[in-house]
């Protein structure tokens, strides 16, 4: 097997007395689409945020393409350009137009010229299905449209990995599919994706791997079909029965 693009080794994260991660080990290969599920507070977001170093691990290491994020010599900003992140609350920049949301980091990080970065932005808006919203402000968009802009904004850096933290949880039901469709298209292009989501339709259609976390640990790591048909642990079974009704 080739070297994993993400390697998480014995990851611990404590917030004061609360321990969010208790020794997580995980390897993700290039092109894999991994879905993470688990009860609230099980450490899913914390794991994702450690992978792009928004959270600094208490112990353990995260390697991206073999580079240790904890190492002093690592340029964390440079590493983050390789890792796009999509948040539950979109976190678009409200003072900038949709176009400028997508071009800002291209300008200040990638140092792309105006024409190039705007072309990239417009192509991405086309790809997520809202080319006509380039000059709108985030506040003028629906939740689903905002989340698609957020995906375009992350993709504009040409990341090798995309992290999604409950990208559809803040959306009205009728907007969930438009975001999932974009994610599914992205999965088909061979993007490495780690998605915290309880959208089981998406997991079945797009993921080759599903991970169940509980109490800061990976309890089960398998394929979506296996997980539903044959969960190995009682905890997994209980959780699935709750979310699948």
């Amino acid at each position: 097997m080739p070297d994993p693009i993400i390697r998480v080794v014995e990851l611990h994260k404590h917030f004061g007395r609360v321990s969010a991660l208790n020794g997580v080990n995980l390897e993700v290969q290039q092109g894999q689409v991994v879905v993470i599920i688990g009860p609230s507070g099980s450490g899913k977001s914390t794991l994702l945020r450690c992978i792009n170093h928004l959270e600094k691990p208490t112990h353990g290491h995260v390697f991206i393409e073999g580079v240790d994020l904890e190492a002093k010599s690592t340029n964390i900003n440079k590493m983050r350009t390789e890792i796009g992140m999509v948040f539950q609350q979109f976190n678009l920049f409200p003072h900038l137009t949709v176009l400028n949301n997508i071009t800002l980091a291209q300008k200040v990080v990638r140092k792309r010229g105006k024409e190039e970065r705007e072309q990239v932005a417009r192509q991405l808006l086309e790809r997520v299905g809202i080319p006509e919203k380039a000059d709108a402000y985030p506040g003028q968009l629906s939740g689903g449209q905002q989340q698609r802009v957020a995906i375009a904004r992350a993709l504009a850096m040409n990341p090798k990995i995309m992290l999604f933290d409950e990208p559809t949880s803040a959306l009205d039901p009728e907007m969930i599919t438009e975001v999932l469709d974009v994610m599914q298209d992205l999965a088909q292009t061979g993007m490495t994706m780690v998605c915290v989501t309880h959208e089981m339709g998406f997991a079945k259609a797009a993921a080759n791997r599903i991970i169940f976390m509980d109490q800061g640990l990976i309890v089960e790591d398998t394929t979506p079909t296996d997980l539903y048909e044959n969960p190995q642990h009682e905890r997994t079974r209980l959780f699935l029965s709750k979310i699948l009704h």
Partner: protein, 282 residues
């Protein structure tokens, strides 16, 4: 279906307000104040002693004073120059301090906090006296004639750097009011802390604190009278000079109060317009 007669004017939305609501919204206080000031002005101009006092403040018989390359010709202008220069210093240095106050770097955080608490812990009047009678004379003694700062400039700098501490707290609260997700989103795109501050956090934070910043301009205008204590020839100082020469305290100080009211009213109107513009944009 009822048909409206052709050409009947559409009722404006405003007219839905009740009479008392309309009265509540109309800026009566400003009308009354302006009318009062206008009457006072006419009355003063009809009185030779008031005319003399106002003249003394607004058009002094003698010298001009240089402050930061600006030729200041009279007390009114000195008040305006003091206010505006001190405000610009406070706006810029306060922003720097405000950003340092939210910094994770312990040196930047503690240095800025120390500065802010020191400045806010000393009455502005004491600060100005201290700069005027201790710092500037001491530096002048050290540097001799080469010392570039006049008394007036020292006092203006003191006011500006003192106010910077207050504005720093305004900026800080603005920065802290921006959701944490904004910084995280910027950082997740590979932008550094400084870049994220500059392009994502500050533009939003500053927009949010424009109204309180504008209010502090009015407060600074009134506090500019404090520099009279080190003999900066602004409105109050010129009024004092007039009174000490003529012993006409009534005319001198009434004229000063009148001029301050005119200025603050003008500033408040500008500030309200800015606020209104801002609220409709936000």
């Amino acid at each position: 279906m009822s048909v409206k007669p052709e050409g009947s004017p559409k009722p404006a939305v405003r007219s839905r307000l009740t009479f008392s609501e309309q009265m509540r919204h109309f800026p009566w206080w400003a009308v009354i104040m302006i009318a009062g000031l206008a009457i006072a002005f006419v009355a003063m101009m009809g009185n030779p002693q008031y005319r003399e006092a106002l003249n003394f403040i607004v058009r002094p018989p003698t010298s001009t004073e240089m402050a930061f390359g600006i030729e200041v010709r009279n007390g009114l202008m000195m008040t305006l120059v003091t206010t505006i220069v001190a405000y610009l210093i406070a706006l810029i240095f306060g922003l720097l301090l405000g950003v340092m106050r939210v910094s994770k770097n312990p040196i930047l955080f503690h240095a800025s906090t120390l500065y802010v608490e020191l400045m806010r812990g000393v009455p502005m009047l004491v600060l100005i006296i201290w700069i005027g009678f201790v710092v500037v004379p001491f530096l002048r003694l050290q540097a001799g004639d080469a010392f570039p700062l006049t008394n007036v400039q020292g006092a203006i700098l003191g006011l500006g750097f003192g106010y910077a501490a207050y504005l720093a707290e305004v900026y800080r609260s603005g920065i802290e009011s921006i959701s944490h997700g904004q910084m995280e989103a910027a950082r997740s795109l590979g932008m550094g802390y400084v870049q994220s501050m500059r392009y994502v956090i500050l533009p939003q934070a500053i927009r949010r604190v424009v109204p309180p910043l504008a209010n502090d301009l009015v407060a600074l205008l009134k506090d500019s009278a404090l520099v009279s204590v080190v003999a900066v020839p602004e409105i109050l100082q010129m009024a004092r000079l007039y009174v000490s020469r003529t012993f006409r305290a009534f005319e001198g100080y009434n004229s000063a109060a009148f001029l301050y009211l005119v200025l603050t009213l003008a500033f408040i109107i500008v500030v309200r317009l800015i606020e209104r513009r801002w609220r409709s944009n936000a």
